[in-house]
Symmetry: C2
Subunit: 354 residues, 2 copies
Amino acid sequence: MKNEGAPSQVGVKEIAKRANVSIGTVDRVLNNRTGVAVKTREKILKIIKDLDYQPNMMARRLASKRTWKLAVLIPAASGETGYWDAPLNGIRQAAAEVRDFGVIVNEFLFDQNDKSTFSARVNQIMKQEFHGILCAPMFEEETNKLVKKCGTKNIPFVFINSDMDHMQRLSYIGPDLYQSGYLGAHLVHYILREKQQVLIVNISKEMDLHHHLLKKEEGFRAYFDNNGVNAKILKTDIRQTDYRSVKNKLNRVLKEHEVQVIFVTNSRVSTVGKFLEETGKPDIKLLGYDFLPENIEYLKKSFIDFLICQKPQEQGHKGIMALYNYLVLGKQVDMVQHMPIDIITKENYRNYRN
Amino acid sequence: MKNEGAPSQVGVKEIAKRANVSIGTVDRVLNNRTGVAVKTREKILKIIKDLDYQPNMMARRLASKRTWKLAVLIPAASGETGYWDAPLNGIRQAAAEVRDFGVIVNEFLFDQNDKSTFSARVNQIMKQEFHGILCAPMFEEETNKLVKKCGTKNIPFVFINSDMDHMQRLSYIGPDLYQSGYLGAHLVHYILREKQQVLIVNISKEMDLHHHLLKKEEGFRAYFDNNGVNAKILKTDIRQTDYRSVKNKLNRVLKEHEVQVIFVTNSRVSTVGKFLEETGKPDIKLLGYDFLPENIEYLKKSFIDFLICQKPQEQGHKGIMALYNYLVLGKQVDMVQHMPIDIITKENYRNYRN
DNA sequence: CTGAAAGCGCTTACAG
DNA sequence: CTGAAAGCGCTTACAG
């Protein structure tokens, strides 16, 4: 029976004593530096294991001036959508938490409507020496280039927000898109009455982002299929994201079809909320994504019924922590970390934490 | 323009130099110990402020053997309900995180069906010297005694899970009961069809816990009132928590009334789920509280539709951190910290984190 | 390949 | 009321 739970009582001193060497040598094997005789190394390794030695992180940090540089490559929040403010906040918070442990975080923000800015940032990053990279892989080809360079330099990288699982990332941290669509469909199912119809709305001009939305739609439809829901699913794609375009398109669709529930596959749901408000259709139920100020507005006014949200801020936070755990603490990191799928309503948005 | 964000470059040495004293004296005013001339103290204080000095916590901890003892006073998880496992887990996790900073956490668990065990634990706690107390104030009178003793000894205490806001706690961390009932009613409202009835079920033998449930019920009814929902609300109190009693009572009620939705005001909802399963009533929708294994079972089988949950584990975690922040870091702490109100369904329980 | 010394930024006795 | 020294558990040069 060991004195379990208690902080490890032994330090390098004790190890050195038992191994009959100086603490300098112990330090060498602890940080597996070169220049230790194999025999000595093994002896020390055994003692470390027997003693279940845990290094004192504070002492280590105090003594060492070693530094870990991380690069962050995510879209800049734009006037169009403030979504990326949240991950950036999480990143900065995590950066503050690990700063005292020698982690330095550099931000490289790109324009998500312009691939070339992504490439440019990649080039900037590659000019410097980073120990790890946190990336939102928005563009497949360009991301591929980054990944290859990381491969040759042996730099670990973490994806957030969306995944490319064929690339050898250290970890993916983000939403489970399919499942969130599946959940959305279940909510719609509760609302839907006999013979009523639901309308799926995709609002996006970016083809690259599109598979994001399709994954959600897929999950949505799967729910209906798997549960034998025989309500009809209508669908419309809107490629212009401005209010006028959305309004025109919806007006046309709703003239032709009787629709009682609308499911918007991304954060543009507030545009539809505005439409329902202006055209006086409070009875149409509306579901969409993301905890954005404009969405919350319409949630408050009851034009949006449910928002599905996957903690974007925490995604950023966990992204940095994954690299920290891996690089600094030498811990293993989960390959996939799906975020919780949160359901936000008028009643609980005030307590929500991104 | 200061070198913002960067770790403070100055330490006690620099302060000492500028004040023309030794670092010992600087240390004395830093930790406001006695034995420093007023003039000296003021001079040093000014320099500290001018330099925006931030102490290096790691060095501080490494050098100091100072220790902070916290007492935790919560119910033991019982065979009857495992609810309190979650807060305890959170407490232990937080304890592990702050252990290196000299925080020692002692657990005092009582039987929530037996006030005398609560009193006994209070006496044990008061025999020792604790710097802070984390408490689930289940019994008003007994809690009052604890609070008084803390007052005279000037020991800060934090409440979790339920509040007594007239007592001078450092913080309350827990659910917003009223609001969660209100949210439950909104969910029910989506489900409810014309002329259907909802049944509120309180299952509890403890009178002391009862006001907990009533708060939720109050919120539930308030939603119906405020939104002019004219569905009828039935209600039944069940004072025996075993399955037979619940079954008999429900059988009686459902014989007399047509009910389409049942709202259980606490974690006993699985008992009702079992009832629905055994009596073959899958069409009755069921809502209740808490992420417990037995509840998740019935959620999976679709006999429970929604679980409302308020992160019990995080409550414990935050409770310890509140005391740590206050005592060790000297930070201010929010008087009330309401937890998010999470909605759990068959689709998102897998990703849920307590 | 190994050891001894200095130092990280603090706190803790001890001496005066 | 104040200072000088030792030490917390490590890492970092430097010397051999």
